[in-house]
Amino acid sequence: MNIVKEETIESRMDKVPVGLKKSLTQVGATVTFEFKRNLKNMFISFGIAVGIYILSLVINLIQEGRGAESPASAGEYLTSYLGMIGFFILIIAVMFAGNIIALDYDKHTGNLIFPKITKGRLFLGRVIARYLLSALAVLVYYVLIGATALIKYGDLPIEILASLGWAMLYTFAVFALVAFFSSFLKKTSTTIVVSLVMMLMVFNLGTTILMMTGVTWEPLFILTYYANIITYSVGYSVAGVFVIGLPTERFLEGSIGPGVGGDGPTFMRWITPDVTGAIIGMIIYSVILIGAAYLFFRRRQQK
């Protein structure tokens, strides 16, 4: 009996990398595999980046063609390209995280993969690979708009890097939200629809309700609110003058109705979180959602 035991252990030792090394190998293999698997999506995401860039460029050109003054500074010019960044990031996150878990259950691919690797390692590898791909698409967009501003103005405000950083963090938070839905919804398509509805409607509705009810606390629990800091970190306009950097006055009061200072009901609006609020808020959002996604995934059984 003893002899048999030793033999088996030994023969396994040279066959299977043990412990930590094995985990790393498996996570690494998963990252590589996921890169290959999402190669096509990667090119599509680049395409979307280019598409949104061209759209913004054309809008800018049309406005200039109509005789509108072009922005005085590169910073202001950049913000005109960041108007759709939140939407762009949403599309990217949905593309890369939508099927991160649901697909294996919907299409039964999980039958092949699960006994081979723990769900924790698989999830980790997938999150790393797919987040990197999402971030890459965002980076491509920034390179495009940065290069355009650089060509047009001959210089770039350093704040574009801050904006890029916020965009990366926001990408992860949105990615986590989509992954969370993917962990318990039946299909990839449902995941995508629910994520879009959540981001485009539910959060907006929440913001509107807050505005209407006139509460003054900052909407830090509304994920889409954090997208604002991506644009505002570059700068903002006050009375037609562009100021570089985050606004200090982040809370606006106004009124709805015709004309400036109309006589409709007043509303209050938070325009952007501050640095601390954004970091803490997005990290909390990401950790909770990714953690919940993992827990749901772990408990989920193959049907």
């Binding site: 009996m1 066959k15 698997r37 299409k107 691919t109 039958n111 092949l112 006994p115 081979k116 193959q302």
Partner: protein, 350 residues
């Protein structure tokens, strides 16, 4: 039986799985010994896939235990140790689906690395196993373009890519053409000769009867028989002997009665009539008997003595078991009999 001396490497004890109020697998017990091929036979919906999914931990059993040999000891499979315990098992569960945009080379290489197969040997190993199922030319083609049978072959191959000691294959032959079926059967036998243990399921008897050392019959979630082919046949005690005559008689009924009179004393059955019947499809006579070789010889002797012009005299093995299979399944369906338990042979037996 020599295999009774071999060590048990998988032991299923009282496995039960419910989906809501429906019990898909009920108190399922099975011992799998090293180096044997076990066929899990059962009709659609019997619980074969559910049983295998529980071993793969794709489903957690509601009751019961799964013990798997690791480093010389049987260990209880839990969520914690599943990775180590399942490491030397290759699984194919249900009709495999792959990531459509990927190629066999990429998929198999990923699986091989996950399973810790030596990295340097992976490319060669992939080519080897794909050659086994004739997919060499498809190594770099996207799986999305594969036919159903090709995906099935890739599924079988993905279970053995890391050269596991145990293979658990859920209907590995589904969707394969006759040639591929034979080739996979030969492949399983070859693997067995290399010392591998194979547990495979099917709803078709002939797929398992030719290669399995022992057959477990499952129906409505219950194990209703588990034994060698030979013992199962004996147990059925109602085996059909096929008798083909030189020429079809004009009066078939008259011939049937004549044959029945000759055979009746030697059937070994209590039945005193309706022993011989005519099978109009095959155009042959069929006689029921207990399957004992001595009876079979005696019947043949008597028939020749009486100068019946037989051209073919045989006991199709699969058919006999096929009947038993259907009989057992029907039994459970109608009467909930506990009786077939009699044919379940544990390791204690002979």
């Amino acid at each position: 039986m020599p295999q009774n001396n071999k060590e048990i490497i998988i032991n299923l004890k009282n496995l039960t799985k419910r989906f809501g109020s429906f019990t898909a697998v009920s108190n399922f017990n099975l011992e799998i010994r090293k180096g044997e091929i076990i066929g899990l036979l059962g009709p659609n919906g019997a619980g074969k896939t559910t049983t295998m999914k529980m071993i793969a931990r794709l489903l957690n059993p509601d009751e019961g235990e799964i013990w798997i040999k690791d480093n010389g000891n049987l260990e209880l499979l839990t969520g914690k140790n599943m990775v180590t315990l399942l490491d030397h098992i290759g699984f194919l569960i249900e009709n495999p689906t792959f990531y459509e945009h990927m190629t066999p080379r990429k998929i198999l290489s990923y699986f091989a690395i996950l399973k810790g197969y030596p990295k340097k040997k992976i490319p060669k190993r992939i080519e080897e196993v794909l050659a086994l199922v004739g997919l060499t030319d498809w190594i770099d083609k996207k799986v999305g373009t594969f036919s159903k049978g090709m995906k099935q072959k890739l599924g079988v191959v993905s279970a053995l890519i890391h050269d596991p000691d145990i293979l658990i294959l859920d209907e590995p032959q589904t969707g394969l053409d006759p040639k591929a079926r034979r080739e996979t059967r030969e492949m399983f036998l070859k693997l067995k000769n290399q010392g591998k243990t194979i547990f495979l399921s099917s709803h078709l008897l002939y797929e398992v009867s030719e290669i399995s050392d022992r057959i477990a019959i499952i129906n409505q979630g219950k194990l209703i028989a588990f034994d060698t082919m030979k013992n199962l046949e004996m147990a059925s005690k109602d085996i059909k002997l096929q008798i083909q005559l030189m020429e079809l008689p004009v009066d078939i009924e008259k011939k049937r009665v004549e044959l029945e009179e000759i055979i009746l004393p030697y059937t070994g059955l209590k039945l005193k009539s309706k022993i011989v019947s005519f099978n109009p499809e095959l155009k042959i006579f069929e006689a029921r008997f207990n399957g004992e070789l001595t009876n079979q010889r005696k019947i043949l002797e008597e028939l020749t003595k009486k100068e019946i012009d037989i051209v073919n005299f045989s006991v199709p093995r699969a058919n006999a078991l096929e009947d038993l299979y259907i009989q057992l399944i029907a039994g459970v369906a109608t009467e909930e009999v506990a009786e077939p338990q009699a044919i379940i042979k544990g390791d204690r037996g002979d």
